[in-house]
């Protein structure tokens, strides 16, 4: 996905609030994710300890990123695979297109990859003439609908079953059939995609983790589509990013301990697989070529800066699921690949502060995201830091800039401040109702004067009466 419409967050969110199908879909989703996560965590003896270990594994990796990536590369080559490096998303797309051309591929099956979304890989592949089929059910649905994902782990969370049935009837020439039940839809997708798995030349997947000590890549899914994409086609291409590397299998498992629990409320997803190179000489299955494409796209620049903690993100989606903003507007309102709190931080960092002005501001700082983040990312603080940068670069709307500056200035003048309060009290009284924000009734100031004024009058009285 290349077009970023994050600057349209306000109109996009207003449209989302009026979209009854979306609201219905979101209401299903949020409660489910939240409840399941809470249950999974309650079943663990000490989730804080698991978080601590996961964060330590990540911190170690980030403090040693260059060396671990070189070690990873060395081990991948040793196991018969190849590593490719991409500074930008264009380089990543060009690399994948070249690999597919060299493999004489026609049909490409793809597992869900947020890096693929970030790069707009699907459109690059289609432009190069390949037939690309998404295999994660959610991704497949939105591919048919020609929409971007609206959630990082549940891409089609905004679709109702009726909408999915309509899409399947439009794109699958399978004649008259019911498709009322969700099981009908899942079964139909299974059989349509099974054929695609068996006939694809190349499988593209993302990776949840890269392991430096042995050159393995970990893929976590519940459907098993990642494993089929990585096993059946002749060529397996992994598109991933540099911050996903960890030192050891032990470190990787420390992160896995918090991933599924935070994401879907499972102790483990149904399938977690560590892939290592192409098929071995005596193996009867597996791809003959194994490629890993490592994307930077601005990540290395975050190291050592205030936003380095964002590199801890393991894309579990817990911050989205618990965000009161996300849960009311869904992912599309955010205008780019990553929605919710993590997206409100990542989008300005990867797309530019001026391309996503509203996102850092679209938070009440309620702090729930930070509370549920298994990797300890201080998301509200990151958002506040982005606001500070917007202020520095004069990107905030002029009226806000002036209004808040004036209020801050007045707040440093205790003698003048009461006049400002008096003005506020009068303004509330005088302001015509129509000037109030839509949907709100006017708020009135209580009593005849401020607390401070009443208090000082009383204190005077008290001291006069000899108290």
């Amino acid at each position: 996905m290349t077009g970023c419409t994050a600057n349209q967050f306000v109109p996009q969110s207003e449209t989302a609030l009026q979209d009854s199908a979306l609201q219905q879909a979101l209401s299903h989703a949020q409660t489910g994710f939240v409840k399941k996560r809470a249950q999974a965590i309650a079943m663990v003896d000490d989730f804080e300890l698991l978080k601590f270990k996961a964060q330590a594994a990540k911190r170690n990796a980030l403090s040693n990123l260059g060396e671990l990536l070189e070690q990873f590369e060395h081990k991948v080559i040793e196991s018969g695979g190849q590593v490719h490096w991409a500074g930008t998303t264009d380089e990543l797309n060009a690399c994948v297109v070249t690999l597919c051309s060299e493999a004489n591929a026609q049909r490409v099956i793809k597992g869900k990859s947020m890096i693929g979304e970030e790069a707009g890989l699907n459109s690059a592949m289609e432009a190069a003439g390949f037939e690309l089929i998404e295999s994660d059910l959610g991704e497949y649905i939105i591919q048919l609908a020609k929409e971007p994902p609206s959630h990082i782990i549940a891409p089609a969370i905004h679709k109702t079953r009726k909408q999915v049935a309509a899409l399947f009837k439009q794109y699958h020439a399978l004649g008259d059939r019911g498709l009322e039940a969700i099981s009908d839809l899942v079964n139909e997708a299974r059989s349509v995609l099974r054929e695609a798995f068996l006939t694809a030349d190349v499988g593209i997947t993302g990776a949840n983790l890269l392991v430096a000590e042995n050159g393995s890549i970990a893929i976590v899914t519940n459907e098993g589509n990642g494993d089929l994409s990585a096993t059946l086609p002749r060529v397996h291409i992994v598109v991933t990013s540099i911050e996903k590397v960890v030192a050891t299998m032990e470190d990787a498992s420390d992160i896995l301990e918090v991933l599924a629990r935070s994401a879907t409320g499972q102790h483990m997803s149904a399938y977690t697989t560590f892939f290592n190179g192409p098929k071995r000489e005596r193996d009867v299955d597996g791809p003959t070529e194994f490629h890993v494409v490592l994307l930077d796209n601005g990540r290395s620049a975050l190291l050592d800066g205030p936003f380095e903690p964002m590199l801890n993100c393991i894309k579990c989606g817990a911050c989205l699921n618990h965000c009161p903003v996300y849960s009311n507007v869904g992912g599309h309102a955010y205008g780019w690949v990553y929605p919710g709190p993590m997206g409100s931080v990542l989008t300005p960092l990867l797309q530019g502060l001026d391309a996503a002005e509203p996102l850092p501001n679209a938070s009440t700082f309620c702090g729930r995201c930070e509370e549920v983040c298994p990797m300890g990312i201080p998301l509200p603080a990151m958002l506040r830091q982005l606001r500070e940068q917007q202020h520095q670069r004069k990107l905030e709307p002029f009226t806000w800039r002036m209004g808040l500056s004036l209020y801050s200035w007045l707040s440093t003048k205790p003698r003048m401040f009461p006049y400002c309060q008096w003005l506020l009290r009068v303004a509330l009284k005088m302001l015509p109702k129509r000037l109030w924000p839509a949907g709100r009734k006017p708020i009135q100031a209580q009593g005849n004067s401020t607390f401070m004024k009443q208090w000082s009058q009383q204190s005077d009285k008290r001291s006069q009466s000899g108290e």
Binding site: W400, S405, S449, R462
Partner: protein
Amino acid sequence: MPDHPATTTKQTNQRTRVALYVTCLVDSLRPEIGFACVKLIEGLGFEVDVPKGQTCCGQPGYNAGHWPQARQVAKVQLRALEGFEYIVVPSGSCAGMIVNHYPKLFADDPVWLPRAEAVAARTRELCQFLVEHKWSPAVSRLSARNVSPRKTWAYHTSCSCRRETRSEEMGAQLLTDAGCIVGHMKNQEVCCGFGGTFAAKFNALSTRMGQNKLEAASQCGADAVTAADLGCLLQLESLDSGAFEFRHIAEVLADQVGSQHPANEDERCS
């Protein structure tokens, strides 16, 4: 106005000076919350001082990224609040600003950091303070005069009380201890949609979030809503069509120990 109860008992707290940091919202718009706080704190036997230099904690500017300005505002508040045993704030949000964010603002300032930390260490959100000092209606020397008809309260645990001062359960406990009927509101951990400038910048979204909260309040059978943050209460009040009464937790608790008006002269002494 409010009564200033006797100081004949609770000698132990006599010399402890407590500053009430009333907050700009309470000061400007809901002065009675300030008097309710005074009543509650004095009820514990403390002497209440309302330092003159206080204005606003600086959160609007701080949260908007105007950090140098926020530092100036913070210095003014710190000057006013230094030298007290406790600083009591009837708002999780403003208390959180002083406790958690002032030290961050002055992290690189060797002069102001210790001053900020000293004030932060003495600052309490109102409910925190009351629980710390074992407040209960019986502790107050005022006889309980429960004149108002029994209401069912929806207690909205503000996000600041929940995640900045971690005192959300204290508020619930105080209400129960004071004999209030508190309805069980679902999704308590979800934000009401105020968020300061957020409410103005994203009105439609903020409105929906507030309506969700009001719906939860109505589902729990409440006819009144209380919280320890006036910002949340004003947000909800502006969206309510008259179904609820909105009162700050200080007022609700103060009501439980006796009526605020008129002052009971018999119990006063000098």
